[in-house]
């Protein structure tokens, strides 16, 4: 689309908005012919541009997703006189599934009616398990190597992505879908209680997927000729990853195709979806306050061997060490999956996210988060698999920021 036609569209939208504000009769349900054909309430509003410039990057964080090919480990085992309930290996879905997974783990822990429970790890999975255990009536101590704000959890993306690298479907088995759905629904319901609080611990935003070419769904069908983890011992293709989102399709609004010219963005194709996300700072603050307020204790401690858990005063332990389970429990099903986020200085006036040219940006309360998701040689869920390098790669984030910088450079001033 050329700038002139975008300008026309913008003016038309502006005029419509003005009419809606002044008219004494209700505004028409649909935009006038020749504009966009969207229902009035669905016409994208004016959007503050993201100041995407590399010198505004103030943080780059790298993490390893605790991916487990069989899906999260929620089994129990006995170490001496101590019951250990595992709760680790949530891949790219830890933030999303945390409450549901905590509920599964805590119910197993409470089945022996302990007065005290230890939780290993203070990432989002450990912290929520600790709070759920408190709600079940237990006195809880978290033993962790790091406090919450130094864990890998806060170096993640922190959006509602409940089946992002959650398992390989073949290894997790056909029964996993039901467990996953149970955890996803329980979590989603629990997030409701953390909305509307100061600092917006949990928030929603429109996310615009923008493209100069038609937006196509990635082909993730399994190709038997390529081999699989089961046949080769290594993950070979994106189609191996478990996809379960159809089970909870009813929870979230459907993505909308936005006609050309209906958004302020200088692209031909746009699709809008709703994204729920977690603001690490305020959400962590609320959770830690809740934990301490209920009498929780925290002890910095690193474990080197599972047998050390039996030396704890608590005889029931919920084990949520995240990726550290690979070493501590010699869990051969744990595979590192590298991920990286960059952070631009916060822009509270920006209340949306975009995905364009293999780059995602999302405005959160603690910064505008940047991810380079589709610009590397490996696409889809396979990107980062097997990579345990946690050294920041600022160049990757700068490259991503420039892509978005270029997008806004094409946007006419009148559209913003």
């Amino acid at each position: 689309m050329d700038r002139r036609s975008l300008l026309r569209t913008s003016l038309a939208l502006g005029g419509l908005a003005g009419l809606g504000a002044c008219a004494t009769t209700p505004p028409p349900r649909t935009a006038a012919p020749g504009t966009v054909g969207l229902a009035v309430e669905d016409i994208p509003p004016k959007l503050a541009p993201i100041r995407a410039h590399p010198d505004r990057i103030f943080d780059v964080r790298t993490c390893i997703r605790p991916f487990r090919v069989k899906g999260p480990n929620l089994d129990t085992e006995q170490i001496g006189d101590t019951l250990v309930v595992h709760n680790y290996g949530h891949g790219g879905s830890g933030w999303s599934l945390s409450w549901g997974s905590a509920n599964v783990a805590v119910q197993k822990a409470m089945s022996v009616a302990p007065k005290k429970i230890a939780v290993i790890g203070c990432g989002i999975v450990g912290l929520t398990a600790a709070i759920v255990a408190q709600r079940a009536g237990a006195q809880v101590t978290i033993y962790a190597r790091e406090f919450y704000n130094r864990t890998r959890s806060v170096r993640a993306n922190g959006s509602w992505t409940p089946d992002s690298r959650i398992c390989l479907s073949e290894q997790a088995g056909p029964g996993f879908g039901a467990l996953w759905e149970q955890m996803a629904r329980y979590s989603y319901k629990t997030f409701r209680f953390y909305m509307g609080l100061p600092g917006r611990p949990i928030d929603f935003a429109d996310n615009y997927r923008l493209s100069d070419t038609p937006i196509e769904r990635e082909d993730d069908t399994l190709d038997p000729a390529k081999g699989t983890y089961g046949s080769t011992g290594k993950i070979q293709q994106n189609g191996e990853f478990g996809q379960y989102s159809d089970l909870i399709r009813d929870l979230t609004p459907k993505p909308e195709i936005l006609p050309e010219g209906s958004t302020p963005f200088p692209v031909k194709y746009a699709r809008r979806s709703e994204v729920m996300f977690f603001n690490f700072g305020s959400y962590g603050h609320v959770l830690l306050s809740e934990f301490y307020g209920a009498g929780g204790k925290m002890e910095i401690r690193e474990f080197h061997h599972p047998s050390e858990l039996a030396t704890l005063e608590e005889k029931v332990v919920i084990n949520s060490p995240g990726y550290a389970a690979r070493d501590l429990w010699k869990d051969k099903y744990m595979i590192p999956v590298r991920g990286q986020t960059g952070w631009l200085i916060p822009q509270p006036e920006v209340k949306y996210g975009i995905y364009y040219g293999g780059v995602s940006m999302l405005s959160k309360s603690d910064g505008v988060m940047v991810m380079s998701l589709g610009r590397g040689p490996v696409k889809g869920d396979l990107a980062g698999v097997g990579d345990a390098n946690e050294v920041e790669d600022r160049a990757e984030i700068e490259d991503a920021v420039r892509v978005i910088e270029g997008l806004y450079a094409r946007m006419p001033a009148s559209a913003a």
Binding site: N103, A113, R185
Partner: protein, 149 residues
């Protein structure tokens, strides 16, 4: 004097050898049958699953019927749980479960919490007052050396 003493000793030995038929039993003694739990599972799917969840996990508002359910009810008698279910559940139609359906549901819940089945159905009468809800399996009383004589 020797004879009465010996009789008393024999009586004591008999009491030790055969477990005392006490007034109460525990959920660990096989309080329901597998068939009854199966009937309860069907009823559960009709009346309870929408709130308490397919694996009794609860939904955040309706409490779980496993896990913390055990400490929540520890130390009570099954009659209390029975009355709670029958008088308050299902939430949308409390008091509509028949006594036998309630007993079946209770059997299903006991099974879901890994309490063992036994040879007889759980009854919906005063016998429930004699069954205690214990969180922990009572330790088996081993004969202790040095106490026999």
């Amino acid at each position: 004097m020797r004879k009465p003493l010996m009789i008393a000793s024999l009586a004591a030995l008999a009491a030790w050898a055969t477990p005392a038929r006490s007034q109460t039993s525990s959920v660990w003694d096989g309080a329901y049958t597998g068939a009854q739990a199966d009937r309860g599972a069907i009823k559960y799917r009709q009346e309870c699953v929408m709130c308490h969840g397919p694996v009794l996990e609860g939904n955040g508002e309706a409490p779980p019927l496993v896990g913390r359910f055990i400490p929540d009810w520890e130390g009570t008698r099954l009659s209390e749980l029975f009355e709670k279910i029958q008088s308050t559940m299902p939430l949308f139609a409390p008091g509509t479960l028949s006594a036998s359906d309630t007993a079946d549901l209770l059997a299903f819940i006991l099974q879901a919490n890994n309490f063992p089945a036994g040879p007889k159905d759980l009854q919906s009468d005063d016998s429930l007052k004699l069954i205690s809800f214990d969180a922990h399996k009572p330790a088996v009383q081993e004969p202790r050396a040095g106490k026999r004589h």
